[in-house]
């Protein structure tokens, strides 16, 4: 079963063939999948609904289970696999890349320190190098302080081909919903919901790359719940053609009249704002004439399905209507909405209470850690800073590591560590640490840090 999605080197990456082979292999993989059992349905008595206790079929057994196939999850899976351990990657959506692809967060920032020196390498650099040789794959490479921007589809393709090449077992459209714990409270795997029903995957180490910390929370690890803005990124077409037209959108902002001139008597507005949207929207992407348009969005609870539903509906509607507004401006008639991101841009939800909680004070003060596993670039007013291994390890629960946006950090810090390249950094470190746990037969909190750092170095990571 382990050879399920592994293309086994039969086909060269980059041709169309591996894709079809993947289908073939996948079909093969499902031969081994246990038949869906007839399960007793949930029962309602009065207003109380109960789920009868039942045994779950074990879909798969593995050494390292990575839950979540976003930037952190893919980095963790490929890095661990490289050390020769058995890795399984599970992703809720039908593609890999998480918010980087499905969330259309296409800018790779923060990548540089305050002196515009790149401080994030390793898996991030590897991906970018592969995108470099892909047509329309990535733009603005090595142009600090301008951040590179990649194409979501190129990234999806790249990650899919990497899964097929690397031998990582992957399950897509498979949503991790619960942790499996043994008698001593150690995590032994996770429960998944998919079209195949509710199934279990048993593992020695679980890396929680769900972003929301679903697995460690289910396993009973302490966490902090935070609320941030939730937006919806979109891509719009023909926008740069508008900007390139002489005289269009190049109106001198200095020639603007005071917004309150001629409005004397209408009362002072309570807010200082010129509200008028002229079409310089978004940032260029590798795809010609297409910009990606970020949206910060309103505050929201990413763990509340009603809230998420409301945002999914409203923000998609809003994006559409904003593009329509753009179309009504002179010169912008041809602008069209290419797509809205399949996933909402959830920034933060759960933050782990780890062995080490990375504090705002520490990162502002340039704190150095003995167990450094990578750097985050300088972002907004914060300088570049080190990320300690302790931030990935839950304080209490065993056999689980966190990576990605849900690691152990204070809110202000997590607002930076949630960004795509930093997720690659924490993901890669978590993957290598998990592999070390398997090889050295130890718990994540007892991982030999020197060995971990050495392996990170070998995989090209930057540790200062």
């Amino acid at each position: 079963m382990r050879r399920s999605l592994a293309a086994g080197g039969l086909f060269a990456a980059g041709s169309l063939m591996p894709v079809s082979s993947a289908f073939a292999n996948q079909a093969g993989a499902h031969e081994g999948t246990p038949e869906r059992e007839t399960k007793p349905p949930a029962r309602v008595v009065g207003r109380k609904v109960t789920q009868p206790e039942r045994e779950l079929p074990v879909l798969h057994e593995t050494s390292v289970l990575v839950v979540g196939g976003g930037p952190a999850g893919t980095a963790a899976a490929f890095s661990a696999k490289r050390l020769g351990v058995d890795v399984t990657l599970v992703e809720r959506y039908g593609y890999l890349g998480g918010l980087a692809t499905g969330g259309l967060v296409l800018g790779i920032f923060p990548l540089y320190d305050r002196k515009n020196k790149q401080v994030i390498y390793g898996f991030a650099e590897e991906l970018m190098k592969k995108l470099d040789v892909t047509k329309f794959g990535i733009i603005d490479r090595n142009k600090a302080p301008i951040y590179p921007t990649f194409d979501a589809e190129a990234m999806k393709y790249l990650l899919a081909s990497m899964v097929l090449d690397s031998g990582v077992t992957a399950y897509l459209d498979c949503w991790g919903v619960d942790a499996i714990v043994d008698g001593r409270g150690g995590v032994r795997g996770a429960v998944f919901e998919s079209k195949s029903g509710r199934q279990a995957i048993l593992a020695d180490i679980v890396i929680d790359c769900t972003g929301d910390g679903d697995i460690y929370a289910a396993a009973g690890a302490a966490f902090e719940k935070v609320e941030t803005n939730i937006g919806l990124v979109s891509r719009i077409g023909n926008i740069d053609m508008v900007d390139m037209m002489p005289g269009r959108g190049s109106e001198d902002p200095n020639s603007r009249q005071h917004p309150m001139v001629g409005k004397v008597g209408e009362g002072r507005p309570s807010e200082g704002r010129v509200s008028d949207f002229n079409g310089h929207a978004g940032n260029p992407t590798p795809a010609p004439h297409v910009n990606w348009l970020n949206m910060k969005g309103p505050l929201g609870d990413a763990l509340d399905v009603a809230n998420l539903t409301e945002l999914e509906l409203k923000l998609r509607m809003g994006t559409w209507s904003n593009v329509q507004k753009l179309q009504h401006r002179k010169g912008n008639e041809q602008v069209y909405l290419t797509e809205t991101a399949p996933q909402l841009g959830v920034r933060l939800s759960r933050l782990l209470d780890g062995v080490k909680k990375l504090s705002n004070q520490e990162i502002r003060g340039g704190a150095k850690f003995k167990d450094v596993i990578g750097y985050s670039g300088a972002y907004a007013l914060a300088p570049e800073f080190q990320i300690p291994y302790g931030s990935l390890v839950p304080a209490k629960v065993e056999n689980v590591l966190a990576a990605g946006r849900c690691i152990s950090a204070e809110f202000e810090v997590a607002d930076i560590t949630r960004l795509i390249p930093v997720c690659w950094v924490t993901g890669q470190a978590a993957g290598i640490a998990a592999a070390l746990c398997i090889q050295d037969k130890c718990k994540p909190r007892n991982v030999n840090v020197a060995k971990l750092q050495n392996l990170l170095h070998q995989q090209g990571a930057y540790l200062g």
């Binding site: 800018g107 902002p253 949207f277 940032n283 949206m295 910060k296 969005g297």
Partner: protein, 447 residues
């Protein structure tokens, strides 16, 4: 007085010159020293007291100078004035030694009358001609951050020294309003004296008698000193410096016309100032500035505020912001990285000698509204979905900016609470959009 007669005049002058530099720098730990130094000038003090209808401690010094000058002709020019000292020496090494300006009318007096009459209307028209302010202006050179500012702060003194080198002492003898005021004080005192001592003599005649002495002969002779008859010139005592130049005291009619013209100019300038302000978008005055219609008049371009500003954001205006009338007057420009009007500083308002900037205590300064920050949706990275930027929100020292979500337009934007914003510019200087910032401080508009 006998003591002073024994000491060579240049020794006293040099001492005062050095003292002036010490005060204007200021090399003393007293931060508002430059302001007191300028308030010594009776011309500045009288005009600003009338124009602002308020009086300060510095007025006492001005009164002393005024009384001394009314007893000893041009006492201030001869001994104290640092500009006079500079110009005298410039003329000494200069190109023109003859007294060609003897025929020139005493412009300085009319300037003084014009200005004081303007001050009554609230706009002291030519107050910027005061020599002490011209002298201190170049001290702001260390805070000049662009070539225009460099030129503007040294312009006044540079032109005077240069012109004096070329054409001689015309400024000191005829044009300087401070010397004109001193002449008038001296002559008035004499006329009054004559009237009191000999009741029979008509004051006009007495005045005329007094004026026949000219007051600038000695200055003339300084120039002549290097000419063929140096010895005769050198022997002339200091108090005859200005002898023979004062032809006669101005007639009542001339005084009336000068005053009328001053008041009229002041009215026109105030109207123009108010109109300019209504149209202005980017005109920002330093904290404590009097309303714009009077500011350009009250401001004497001494550049004390430019000199005092630790953020170096106060620049003399090239005329771009406030037109010709506001030429050289201070404007705030948030054009330097991370330099804004600090919430812990009120230095500029403390050093203004004329009250163009009202002295503000720290609590008042914090509340003083320089302008209002307005975010331009057309440029804001956040609004345009280019970057998740909240630099302005983080930078605002008054907690006036919050990133908000516009429910109707489906965009996030920095919401600025105009009731909290005082236009300090902290948001503008951190805004990453270049060259025009997305969030800028605009001229405060009346509601």
């Amino acid at each position: 007085m006998t003591f002073f007669r024994r000491v060579p005049r240049w020794v006293i002058q040099l001492t005062c010159f050095v003292g002036a530099i010490v005060l204007a720098w200021p090399l003393v730990p007293w931060k508002i020293a430059p302001r007191f130094f300028q308030e010594i000038s009776p011309f500045v003090s009288v005009s600003s007291i009338i124009a602002t209808r308020s009086i300060g401690v510095g007025a006492v010094l001005a009164l002393v100078v005024a009384i001394a000058s009314s007893f000893k002709k041009r006492w201030f020019c001869l001994y104290l004035c640092p500009t006079g000292f500079l110009l005298e020496n410039s003329s000494r090494f200069g190109m023109r030694k003859n007294r060609w300006w003897g025929k020139c009318p005493p412009v300085g007096r009319y300037v003084a009358i014009l200005t004081i009459a303007g001050a009554i209307v609230g706009y002291p028209v030519l107050l910027w001609m005061d020599p002490l302010c011209i002298f201190t202006s170049p001290f702001a050179l260390n805070k000049a951050t662009n070539p225009y500012s460099v030129i503007l702060v040294i312009l006044g003194l540079g032109v005077l020294v240069g012109a004096t080198f070329v054409i001689g002492m015309l400024w000191c003898v005829r044009i300087c309003p401070l010397s004109g005021l001193q002449d008038m004080l001296y002559l008035s005192r004499k006329a009054l004296w004559a009237k009191l001592t000999s009741g029979a003599a008509s004051p006009k005649a007495a005045g005329r008698a007094a004026v026949t002495e000219s007051s600038n002969a000695q200055l003339v002779n300084i120039a002549a000193a290097r000419a063929p008859k140096p010895q005769a010139a050198r022997k002339e005592p200091a108090n005859r410096l200005f002898a023979k130049s004062t032809r006669k005291f101005s007639s009542a009619r001339r005084v009336f016309f000068a005053g009328g013209a001053g008041a009229l100019l002041a009215l026109i300038a105030r109207r123009a100032g108010a109109a300019r302000y209504r149209k202005a978008n980017t005109l920002l005055r330093p904290p404590g500035a009097v309303p714009e219609d009077r500011f350009a008049g009250l401001c004497i371009r001494c550049n004390n505020c430019t000199h005092a500003c630790p953020s170096k954001i106060i620049h003399p205006d090239t005329g771009h912001e406030a037109g010709l009338a506001g030429f050289g007057a201070p404007v705030i420009k948030y054009d330097r990285d991370y330099q804004y009007c600090l919430e812990t500083c009120n230095a500029c308002s403390q050093v203004c000698p004329t009250g163009a900037l009202t002295a503000l205590a720290m609590p008042e300064k914090k509340k003083y509204v320089i302008g209002e920050a307005i975010v331009d949706d057309n440029l804001c990275l956040l609004v345009l979905g280019k970057k998740e930027c909240d630099a302005c929100e983080l930078a605002c020292p008054y907690d006036a900016i919050k990133i908000k979500w516009d429910e109707d337009q489906f965009i996030s934007y920095p919401g600025i609470d105009l009731n909290k914003c005082n236009g300090c510019g902290a948001c503008q200087v951190v805004c990453p959009v270049n060259p025009t910032k997305a969030i800028r401080v605009w001229t405060l508009k009346p509601s």
